[in-house]
């Protein structure tokens, strides 16, 4: 099957744009009528839904930011009541407060359709067995791929994360043909498989990997494909938009953003001006059909560029390039978003610690590691017992683990030993080579 929905996927660009305009109008009226947040934000910007007379008029609308979600925690930006929701997902936030995303039945349906179209576009279908090795739970990765693959008719192995040897046995025993996981986990899997004497090419039917939730590169793709014989495809999304949503197609030449679900802009992060095709800037997405938690001109913070020519696969929708970085200091560790401000927040709750810390991110084998070096507070009561220091170190690690949902190594250091910075502190050392 080439397309999941040929009518939409091959729709001429002018028709897509007409549809987008119609959906945008509806969205803006709906937000203005039912959302206190969006109405007041629009009023601040002197814009009324009647001002939106063409698709290009979208530039008149205000941006929204991750901060808005945080300020309205947990559900201040939702439209409708809890009775309309069928699910929550929760992702870690920037200062300890998480981001909560609610879904109506239709939101889940559109999410699954988006993923199903993407999986179809890379050549998967009913004859495939897809192992979902993203985390299941509050994180959107596992369930997002799960329902998308089921929607397409593939057979899902909901393996979730961890227990790598067992995962490799499942790949063999259940004749798994495709896997969805983070690129670093894919590398880890192939290393473990090699140790077990399993060759994916010789001993399994695994030929496709759908990789995302953390930054990776063409170099890494070449490495994965070269060492495993598996074709690797990029998938993109964030929890605020629903979760993993959009993938590359078999052409491996940009991620298709389904125009009936999302409107793409790339802007200059400094001026907010719109950029043209091929120009690198900050991605802004408007979710055209999202019900429970609408997203209008949402500045995700990811850096990319867009391409609006028709793809070699025949699909007419706008494509974005692989994500090339962040406009802020967000780190992605084993698929989890981590902001240095969250780390600071967690450390400051421990009275024995000073204000200075350093984050060292590295990749050991295929897995991301994060080390937090933190100074002890000077002139404090310190017991002289190693046990107490070890307990303190464990307490800090536990605190960070709870706040970030990622395991962290902790190193306690003496006061005044970490480098001081004049102006903006450079607290992150990222040694990963992607």
């Amino acid at each position: 099957m080439k397309y999941l929905d040929p009518r939409i996927e091959e729709m001429p660009r002018t028709e897509i744009e007409a549809l987008q305009f119609k959906l945008l109008k509806t969205l803006v009226y709906r937000l203005y009528s039912f959302s206190d947040f969006y109405r007041s934000r629009m009023k601040e910007h002197n814009v009324h839904p009647d001002d939106i007379r063409s698709l290009d008029d979208i530039v008149k609308l205000p941006f929204m930011y991750k901060k808005d979600l945080r300020d309205n925690y947990p559900d201040g930006m939702f439209i409708g009541g809890q009775e309309d929701l069928v699910r929550y997902h929760v992702s870690s936030g920037t200062t300890g407060k998480p981001t909560v995303v609610g879904y109506t039945h239709r939101d889940l349906e559109n999410w699954a359709i988006s993923v199903a179209r993407g999986l179809t576009s890379i050549g998967l279908g009913r004859r495939d067995v897809l192992q979902v090795s993203y985390g299941y739970g509050l994180f959107t990765g596992g369930l997002g791929l799960h329902y998308g693959a089921e929607r397409m008719g593939a057979t899902v192995v909901p393996a979730s994360v961890g227990n790598t040897e067992r995962q490799i046995e499942l790949i063999q025993d259940l004749r798994v043909t495709a896997i969805a996981c983070t690129p670093s986990y894919m590398l880890h899997l192939s290393e473990v498989a090699e140790k077990m004497g399993v060759s994916f090419e010789r001993d399994t039917r695994l030929r496709t990997a759908v990789l995302g939730a953390e930054p990776w590169s063409e170099k890494m793709r070449a490495r994965i494909e070269g060492s495993t014989g598996i074709k690797a495809y990029d998938i993109y999304g964030t929890s605020e938009l629903s979760g993993p949503l959009f993938t590359e197609c078999s052409e491996q030449n940009g991620i298709h953003i389904w125009g009936d679900l999302a409107y793409v802009e790339v802007i200059d992060p400094e001026t907010g001006e719109r950029l043209g095709p091929g120009e690198k800037g900050e991605l802004v997405i408007t979710m055209l059909q999202k019900e429970a938690l609408p997203m209008m001109r949402y500045r995700i913070g990811d850096i990319t560029s867009f391409e609006d020519s028709v793809c070699g696969c025949g699909r007419s929708h706008v494509r974005i390039s692989r994500i090339q970085g962040r406009v802020d200091d967000m780190l992605i560790i084993r698929g989890i978003n981590v902001f240095p401000s969250q780390i600071e927040h967690a450390l400051m709750s421990v009275p024995e610690l000073g204000e200075h810390f350093q984050i060292v991110v590295d990749r050991k084998g295929a897995l991301d590691t994060m080390l937090v070096r933190v100074e002890l507070k000077s002139a404090q009561l310190f017991s002289d017992k190693l046990d107490d220091l070890i307990r303190l170190k464990n307490k800090v690690a536990h605190q960070l683990r709870n706040n970030l949902n990622v395991a962290v190594d902790v190193e306690l250091v003496s006061p005044e030993t970490l480098t001081r910075f004049e102006g903006k502190a450079k607290r992150v050392i990222d040694r990963r080579v992607l």
């Binding site: 000077s378 310190f382 002289d384 220091l389």
Partner: protein
């Protein structure tokens, strides 16, 4: 008579040059180190030392930003010959004294075993009542 001795303890991460910096700080104050030990955990350690002027050492190191504390320990005189440690440690064992940590030096005027225990006064009484000899605070200054 005061049988407890004030030990200084300094937190230090495992990094080349840390000990030298601490020793240098003490040297600059003309403080003599009589005994010291390093206890090591993963990535960091605690340097413990007996010095001739613990109060000044504490002040100096604190002013330099080190995490320092003082702890009362006991110094038990040992015979500097085979069996010296056995005599003392047997005595402690018989008295039911649990040693949290210990280190030793040989030299003036005796070999000395320095121990940190939970109940300092009980330990002192037990050792003295068994005929053990303890270093007095004044002997170090």
């Amino acid at each position: 008579m005061t049988y407890t001795i004030t030990q200084i303890s300094i937190f230090a991460e495992n990094r080349p040059g840390r000990l030298a910096a601490i020793a240098e700080a003490l040297e600059s104050e003309n403080i003599n180190i009589l005994a010291f030990s390093i206890a090591e955990a993963s990535g960091f350690g605690v340097i413990r030392a007996l010095v001739d002027d613990p109060e000044r050492a504490f002040k100096k190191l604190s002013s330099l930003g080190y995490v320092v504390s003082t702890t009362e320990v006991i110094g038990i005189k040992m015979h500097d010959r085979p069996g010296g440690l056995r005599e003392i440690s047997r005595m402690l064992g018989d008295a039911g004294i649990n040693i949290e940590y210990a280190y030793a030096y040989t030299g003036r005027p005796n070999a000395v075993l320095i121990i940190r225990v939970d109940h300092v006064d009980e330990a002192i009484n037990a050792i003295l009542s068994k005929g053990g000899q303890l270093i007095q605070r004044t002997e170090l200054a």
